[in-house]
Symmetry: D2
Subunit: 316 residues, 4 copies
């Protein structure tokens, strides 16, 4: 039995220190500390780690952290939405996103050619440069073959980039597959469509890619899921673990609640009814903004794993 | 200038009455009344109406309401996730879903072969029957042709059903296209994959379907979006309106908030920065569970439109 | 076992109809229908009904509904915060509140002398008139005696008003005590203070009032709690039921969630651990804006009770 | 203009480091970094700092942090609810609270004599010991005088305790007044009532205490508000700053949203319309669980202020 302990600041306190204290503070701080422990367990027990996140996390600075996690061996499979991949490419080609305000005047922003994602801004220009970039890429891919499973296509694109903070680049380099079950739901979809207009035999094979995610793991292998936010990125990962006998470890970070029956609010407990996670799995659901909650929990885990030499040596 | 008015119950009060009073009550009741008015406007001004919803709404009894709305001419385009389509088929073939509890014991449910979605339960059996049903359907489709755009495939499936409360059936009958940009993210994806294992030239063409949604409307046509929940169903509809010059009308119903930069919490205002809705559009964002908020707002609109003979005559 | 049923609109649908259908829809609609049933039960079983609400509900048009509920015999005890009482008085003396916007420019509002509560506006003027009104009232009270329990004082004030939509007035007329455990936390507190400056022996006896709420009910009497929002209004009512053996019935309407351990998010289940509600009580927690959820549930209950002649005849 | 930067973990990363990086990450992480900066500013500009929190924060381990903040000179005025004060006393007299689970079986807990606050547990025993403790305390107070303003009474009680982690103790020692506008809304209220039964002239003077909080600061003095959660603790502090010309600095930490017009969700912007904070004030609203968000922001501020020797030397 664990008791509540009075929290105290100590000068120079590390992230490791504070998350360790959180275990005794209460409410979501306790869940956060639990999530950190589950992450350590999934790694120490050699689980295959699914990292899933929604597009807005890639808009944010977490994108570079995801790339680092791949380098450190903390993500074996990525599942995300297409917007996040587009923005990863934009950033890789030098585009800068702006820290703005939630309460900005949206009509004014529209006039200035600025698109808002919460308190972050993306210029129209960045989308135009993406357009310039992606056309030739598709031509190159088509030259190789005309029918592509999504994750194979994303790997090729990753290999063409050269940015150590890019998820696509690091994933390609480290043989971490990226799955995106809704590849057309963004600017990328539009460009795929334009390309297909001129090359009718150009096929993006989403059905083939279902096989790829299905066989990325197995019943015998231990599986862990780290889900940031909801949406199909979360769902697709746990559909895969379900079809492979259920995950042994799962941590969800979300701002949504279970009360409306949504995927984003679905808890690790609800996942047990489906067999998405095992009945006796180690799970934690942390309610809060992933831009804060996730780095805290993950850094505690990284420090712990580093101590035990469980992290890959980080190259570039 | 509108003043707050004391709310009063009158015996036999109708939904129309209460939503009319909500305009003067305050907080989300005011936003709900505004949403009802925007729905009326979009219909009266002959906008093409995009109705988008997440899978859990189809789990719920709203599914029959969506089908009715198609019959009444209140939805011209549907965008949803694949889980909702699977469940629409299950229900069409006689499966019953159960009203359970949020706090149910998930391990026990799992043992009983019951899957939980919030406070609703789906039996494993229903999934097994879906499996039995969908195999022959895919064989029939393949016989016709080997390469299918998603919405074309869904129309064919709808025509094979025979349930007036089915979204797939009513949409097919009334030429309302259903778009599902993540068609593999569910049991259906698994069965598509199994089928492709034996029929390698079987193609589900998501890129072609992007063209279909793109040309479902135009810059010249007025456009209205009714989005329930978030996810790619919401995003895909407003991506389409963006590429067609922006929607004139938009109402969002969501339990999520704008504070984490997510799609589900993104407001109709944020959509203006992107040009997803026009700068001078009529918009409303209602915070609350769509299972309550949406029927209220929509019924107010239906009563109003019915009075003016703006609804299609409802056949079966 | 209850199954999910397809929701259907019927022309002229009443609030009674829709809430009855909600029972079979899913998510919060189910909880709302359950709450409606619990309200009926508490009335039919002659429970003493505690109605608690936060100040913003009185800012809204719900204030007139609360007054009506007292007339109908649906509230035996009121617990609220002082802001709501001040605004009840303002409205009783003819002040009008405005339906504005959540996204209003607050600096501009400040310059115009307008105070914002969500999307409702209150003019400074209304506060000034309240000041003019309350001074002589306190003088009259002091003339009667110098030491007042809060609920006794509020009854006297209610008797001085003459507005059928006033909670203070109707409560006074129908001998429904109003408890406000933080009577100084508002403009009223300031005026009490000013008055005491000149009349040092003027005492507002909050300790005495604790006895009043304690003895407003008993262990033997059945007790029901209807709590809108959180705060001390909710807490004070369930503290009273706790000290009287626990409530048999409780329905909470709140936008908050249990995940942060707050009073506003505390569920009817959590209340069981404390004995605030009985272990075998009939309870429901509805997540959503009370400005919509509460009238729906309550009207279903009123129609049901009216059918069985369980409501007081409504005078003025 | 600030750009989004890729977040990177560095071994041994401090809380100071991570919050500094948050400024460039996005969503609530940006707001958190802003809040940290506002706290530094309010201290550097010698503002009188109001720290307000709800009872559940005192249940949690934050209680010891609040005591530390008083020692460090980071809180000049405390406003809270009575439950938090009771629990501060319980902890000071040796009671231990337990870290439990949100999903605990509440009926079982009730049978075991355990009360749940989110995922924290308090034994009935702790309440019984509080009862034993508080009776003689009230007798002592009464001996001194029969009429007590709340904050004066709380100071006396603080002086009787001897626990460096106690808020009551540290506040008394450092002449930091504690205001509690709803002193009877808890077990303490019950014991006050019992005592008054035998000592009818025993008066807790809440009106007098309004004068105390009113004169705790002035128009001329700079004022800063740090509000954790909502409720009357938050409202009472900003009512005081309103009556003193408005605060120059305000940071709110809350899990609630502005969409229902509640006090807990009211933003620092809404406060401007009232003049609770000044039009040109430095403000930040952080959405998230205070058990995590507050220590992060405050520690960043402490490290920064410590560097500049702005903190009091911490005795015991």
């Amino acid at each position: 039995m664990q008791v509540v302990e009075d929290f105290q600041w100590k000068k120079g306190m590390t992230v490791k220190d504070i998350v360790s204290q959180f275990k005794h503070v209460g409410f979501q701080s306790v869940e956060l500390a639990k999530a950190a422990e589950v992450i350590v367990k999934m790694k120490k027990n050699s689980a295959k780690i699914f990292l899933t996140y929604t597009s807005n996390m890639s808009t944010s600075g977490l994108r570079g952290f995801f790339a680092q996690l791949i380098r450190l061996g903390m993500a074996d499979v990525i599942v995300t939405t297409v917007g996040g991949l587009e923005e990863d490419i934009m950033k890789s080609t030098g585009e800068k996103f702006i820290v703005g305000e939630f309460e900005a005047d949206d009509v004014e922003l529209h006039e200035q050619g600025i698109n808002r994602v919460g308190n972050l801004f993306i210029k129209n220009e960045s989308y135009m440069k993406f357009e310039d970039y992606i056309g030739p890429v598709l031509a190159k891919l088509y030259k190789k073959k005309n029918r592509w499973a999504v994750s194979d296509m994303l790997k090729e694109i990753g290999l063409m980039l050269n940015d150590e903070n890019s998820v696509l680049y690091q994933a390609a380099k480290h043989d971490v597959p990226i799955f995106c079950p809704s590849i057309t739901d963004g600017a990328f979809g539009f460009h795929l469509h334009m390309f297909q207009q001129d090359h009718n035999d150009f096929i993006v094979d989403v059905v083939k890619d279902f096989g790829n995610i299905l066989f990325v793991t197995s019943h015998d292998e231990k599986k862990g899921v780290i889900a940031l936010g909801g949406s199909i990125s979360k769902h697709h990962a746990i559909l895969c673990t379900l079809l492979n006998g259920g995950a042994e470890y799962a941590v969800y970070f979300t701002t949504d609640h279970k009360t409306s029956g949504s995927m984003s609010g679905a808890t690790t407990n609800e996942a047990k009814s489906w067999g998405k996670v095992k009945d006796d799995s180690d799970v934690a659901t942390v309610i809060g903004d992933a831009s804060i909650m996730f780095p805290l929990a993950m850094i505690w885990a990284l420090e712990e794993l580093d101590k035990d030499k469980m992290l890959k040596k980080e190259g570039k």
